[in-house]
């Protein structure tokens, strides 16, 4: 009955009303109309799928189809979550003419790079400590942290730190910054 109504591909509110009445007349739960309508798969306009109450059976063709589709979707998502390759080559490069201890990270400006450097010197920071350091550098804490992590994401698809208070720094980033100067796409 539900498939009849959706045959033309359009289900109008009037049709739904008729269905509700018909379900009631047949002693069916009127509320199940919505679930049944919803279950009408647009790719299989023929009668609604039969729930396999009679034991367990896997449709192996369907499993293969799904695996293929899943493979495609994984690829699509992998491309999204491991970003397009970034062409920024020099990750750590001494800033010429300035004190040699300050290196540039992620192409950030001097102040943000200094803060990122400081963060990388310890695994865990209290928010207050970082706030003090940011203030000394003339940076607004939250905005600066946002910028640092964004830059980290842009180049390495992962944040430099996580958490709010305390901040937990991913020290493996030091190695990545040293040894993976160019971003490698998946």
């Amino acid at each position: 009955m539900v498939s009849l109504v959706s045959m033309d591909g359009v289900i109008t509110p009037d049709e739904i009303r008729v269905l509700e009445k018909a379900y009631k007349a047949l002693g069916l739960e009127a509320a199940s109309v919505f679930g049944d309508l919803h279950a009408m798969s647009p790719t299989q306009p023929s009668p609604a799928r039969k729930p396999s109450t009679s034991g367990f059976h896997l449709d192996h063709n369907r499993v293969r189809e799904l695996q293929n589709e899943t493979q495609q979707v994984s690829q699509l998502l992998a491309n999204i979550f491991t970003d397009e390759a970034s062409a920024v080559a020099p990750i750590i490069a001494p800033i010429e003419g300035e004190e040699t201890s300050t290196t540039r990270i992620f192409d950030l400006d001097h102040e943000h790079a200094a803060l990122a450097h400081l963060l990388l010197s310890r695994p865990v920071w209290n928010r207050n400590e970082v706030a003090d350091a940011a203030a000394d550098l003339g940076l607004m804490l939250d905005g600066a942290l946002e910028r640092i992590n964004e830059a980290s994401f842009d180049l390495y698809d992962q944040p430099l730190f996580e958490g709010n208070d305390p901040l937990e720094v991913d020290l493996t980033m030091i190695d990545r910054i040293r040894h993976e100067p160019a971003h490698t796409p998946a």
Binding site: V10, L37, P42, S74, L77, I80, F81, A144, E150
Partner: protein
């Protein structure tokens, strides 16, 4: 299945599934199928990033994976540099109200504001500071005062409702920073979060005449959509789940007022009246289709939604605003179990704790125990599956057949004995 799996994502996925909740990160690792639905939403996100708008209803029955889907789209949005705000509706959080429930929804959205670098929420100050910091940098380069530049940048917002006051509040935040006035900064954030409840208080604290109240929630979101773009993000995605709470409203007038708001959002989106703003609403089939209480009960929405809600000629039509998530099938669940096994093993095939036959046996076991619901509402199925994997991992000497068999003893079904025999036959040569 050759995606790299990060330990953090793996742990998050496994822990969440074990606790019976939807993971907040790493959803993409266990996505099964739904290629078209995801592609559609990804193109929506790209439209938002291009300064356009989008509106989608994500409709699915309990257990179909609405929340999972919404969370996945959130994660994709953050990856695409959108700011994401999300909230579940409940009796005290609605789109439209007169007793503070809409403002309360807005406040919840703001608390949950997330960006790629702050995926767990609380990103509002970071977003504001990013805007202010950019303005300060630019002002320094141009030799202007920060406030002048800030005002110039925000001038495009002043044509919108609350736009002037919004600019004032951002300027107050900046002043608070420059003068070391913590109170002023936190008052500014409080205003932006919609946490001022009276105009008098807001005026005393910030000198502004308005607050974000029930009536201005949607306008404020439109304003934010523009603001985050000024701050350097690509746009704003608003995710609202549990829309069925509007359906449950007993008062017809209140319900219709909320549906009217949805209509307004939908119309704005179709007409391109909102900039860089997308809405994604999750609800059940009743919420959409019920002609007495659902969206179909509101005739203007009916006509806009019914045409496209179902595809014609056996084709999926995803150009309409409704994305329909069908309930999982056994085959979906089977592939999902494979994915979870893959994530559990950090993507290393040698470390798989169960062979495919084991997955099927597990499903058959569940089917015998709880019937069809084991794949339609798979929450408990997945939890016990992850528990099984965890036991196998920690006890390398354990045989999954025995574990399943041990579970069988609890169940008093006659089919259990048959099951045992079948598995033994099939897997006599299986090694861990």
């Amino acid at each position: 299945m050759n995606q790299p799996i990060r330990p953090r994502e793996r742990d998050s996925v496994i822990q969440s599934l074990r606790a019976g909740v939807v993971p907040r990160v790493g959803q993409h690792l266990i996505q099964v199928g739904r290629n078209q639905e995801i592609t559609t939403l990804v193109s929506d996100l790209e439209r938002i990033a291009d300064g356009s708008s989008s509106f989608r209803l994500v409709i699915g029955e309990y257990g179909a994976g609405k929340t999972f889907f919404l969370n996945l789209v959130r994660a994709i949005a953050m990856e695409k540099k959108l700011v994401v705000v999300s909230a579940d509706l409940n009796p005290d959080r609605r789109l439209q109200a007169s007793g503070g429930q809409a403002r309360s929804l807005y406040a919840e959205l703001m608390r949950n504001m997330a960006t790629r670098s702050k995926p767990d929420g609380g990103a509002l100050p970071a977003v504001v500071e990013k805007f202010v910091a950019n303005a300060k940098d630019e002002a320094k380069q141009n030799g202007q005062s920060t406030e002048t530049l800030l005002r110039a940048k925000l001038s495009e917002l002043t044509e919108l409702v609350n736009g002037y006051d919004f600019a004032d509040v951002i300027a107050a935040y900046c002043r608070g920073y420059e003068e070391g006035n913590e109170q002023l900064r936190s008052d500014a954030v409080k205003w932006l979060r919609g946490e001022f409840t009276t105009k008098t208080d807001a005026r005393a604290a910030l000198g502004v005449r308005s607050i974000i109240d029930d009536a201005s929630v949607y306008d404020q979101l439109k304003l934010l959509g523009r603001f985050v773009r000024l701050a350097g993000y690509s746009g704003l995605l608003v995710g609202l789940d549990e829309m069925v709470n509007l359906y449950k409203l007993a008062n017809t007038q209140a319900r219709n007022a909320n549906y009217e708001q949805i209509l307004r959002i939908l119309n704005d989106s179709f007409q391109g009246a909102a900039v860089g703003l997308g809405f994604m609403l999750g609800g059940t089939p009743e919420f959409l289709l019920d002609t007495r209480r659902g969206l179909y009960s509101y005739s203007a929405l009916q006509s806009r939604l019914s045409q496209n809600a179902f595809a014609t000629g056996g084709l999926v039509d995803l150009s309409g605003p409704v994305i329909r998530l069908t309930s999982l099938t056994q085959e979906d669940l089977f592939v999902l179990l494979q994915k979870v096994r893959h994530v559990f093993a950090m993507g290393e095939v040698d470390r798989y704790l169960l062979p495919d036959e084991g997955l099927a046996a597990f499903m058959e076991h569940c089917s015998g125990r709880i019937g069809d619901s084991y794949f339609r509402t798979p929450r408990t199925t997945i939890t016990s599956y992850v528990n099984l994997l965890a036991v196998l991992e920690q006890n390398p000497q354990a045989q999954w057949r025995e574990l399943l068999g041990a579970m069988e003893i609890d169940a008093d079904s006659g089919a259990a004995a048959d099951l045992d025999v079948e598995i033994d036959d099939e897997l006599a040569s299986f090694k861990m």
